[in-house]
């Protein structure tokens, strides 16, 4: 539960930092420090429009995004505090978050949402296998599937770090893998039809998902039970991700799939093989 208490302020701060960095990189000044909080309060106070043609299930889908992520953060080990989760639940909860964004695209009955959902699914097919294998490799190396504390640091796991980072870029819909919500092409993809409180919940879950994956990176590959080291590592992960996001243009879906299936997936398989052999 302590992880969740840190996650909310840190992810709100990170959102501001990302917008500020993006603004500074374009020689703009950027938004004030409390901007993400203003945005959230405003969205919670607005009307929740509903498309008549869209499915009534649509109003619950932001919760299907938010609940798995908060559950995951509250159960993961954080700094010196132990966690209480096994790897199977992590795979399940992470996949549930992606499935919910796919479903919200399909059920919103909008062409932008439909295209966003298709791209989301194609992207899911590409990054999910390498992500799962990258999470599995430290577990196989240390023969432990239960995360009550972080795994140790090992040189053998560096390829798994790389695979995890690339897959989480795709999972968080960051450029160059931001196809599902490519603003210039398909508005906001699966989230085009949401407004007001539902949109606020979606934004909140996106920010928390970023925190969750960067925290998971520390737990799996560095794992020293120290609060400040944990926060610093999350910060570095986020900074690298945002810099790549700012600097790279969007890839086409064929190139993305080729990259993940020809480069990342074999690398992850070899990594799991080496870990299994060493254990």
């Amino acid at each position: 539960m302590i992880g969740l208490a840190f996650a909310l302020p840190v992810s709100i701060f990170f959102n501001w930092l990302e917008r500020k960095l993006r603004a500074r990189s374009q020689f703009r000044i950027g938004p004030p420090l409390l901007q993400p909080i203003y945005d959230l309060i405003k969205l919670f106070g607005k009307q929740n429009l509903r498309n008549i043609r869209a499915s009534p299930l649509l109003s619950f889908l932001p919760l299907l995004y938010l609940v798995p992520i908060t559950l995951l953060i509250s159960r993961l080990p954080f700094g010196p505090w132990p966690g209480n989760i096994d790897l199977i639940s992590i795979f399940f909860l992470l996949a549930l978050a992606s499935i919910s964004s796919f479903l919200s695209g399909v059920l919103s009955f909008s062409p932008y949402g439909y295209f966003g959902a298709r791209r989301e699914l194609l992207q899911l097919v590409s990054y999910e296998a390498p992500l799962v294998l990258a999470i599995l490799s430290p577990a196989i190396l240390y023969s432990d599937f239960f995360l009550d504390r972080g795994f140790g640091f090992s040189l053998i796991l560096h390829p798994a770090c790389l695979v995890f980072f690339l897959s989480s870029l795709a999972k968080l819909r960051r450029s160059p893998f931001d196809l599902p919500n490519a603003i210039q092409e398909i508005v906001e993809g699966p989230f085009t039809e949401f407004s007001g409180p539902a949109l606020a919940l979606i934004h909140l879950s996106e920010w928390l998902e970023t925190f969750c994956l960067s925290s998971l990176f520390y737990i799996l590959f560095i794992g020293i039970p120290n609060l400040w080291l944990h926060l610093f590592s999350i910060f570095c992960f986020f900074l690298l991700m945002v810099l790549i996001d700012i600097l790279t243009p969007r890839w086409k879906i064929e190139r993305l799939m080729r990259f993940f299936w020809i480069f990342t997936f074999p690398l992850a398989v070899i990594e799991v093989g080496i870990c299994w052999w060493l254990s």
Partner: protein, 131 residues
């Protein structure tokens, strides 16, 4: 809280593109509307402020009404440029459905052909102060 984080949606209802260029200039690095929390959004459902440029053509009239109905409450409408205010150069055109305020209620008018980015920023700021 809208006054702290107004999200914009831009609709060109059939103008010459001059006002649109000035509007983009007010968001781009020189003036940077994001300092006021403004973000240009692609979907009217996410937006708080509808920015309308151009004289409304007969074809755009229905779309303008639909877009206005897709903005979540509370919403503000800002008409930008002479065409949106009165018809401007297209006043006597055969396919003009009228100025913006004949079709949807308008809160703020920004005159000019095209208005300067400073004028657009002043208009948005005035709209936010009146909330």
């Amino acid at each position: 809280m809208i006054s702290r984080s107004p999200w914009l949606y831009h609709f060109n209802s059939g103008g010459c593109n001059g006002c649109d260029i000035e509007l983009i200039a007010s968001i781009a690095p020189g003036f940077d509307l994001e300092r006021l929390g403004c973000v240009l959004k692609g979907s009217p459902r996410h937006a708080d402020i509808l920015l309308v440029t151009g004289c409304v053509t007969k074809q755009a009239e229905k779309r303008l009404k639909r877009i206005y109905s897709q903005l979540a409450e509370k919403k503000i409408v800002i008409a930008i440029g002479s065409c949106a205010l009165s018809g401007g150069a297209f006043r006597s055109s055969y396919n003009r459905a009228g100025p913006v305020d004949r079709i949807i209620p308008v809160d703020i008018y920004i005159p000019g052909c095209p208005p300067r980015p400073q004028a657009i920023i002043h208009g948005i700021k005035t709209a936010l102060e009146r909330l």
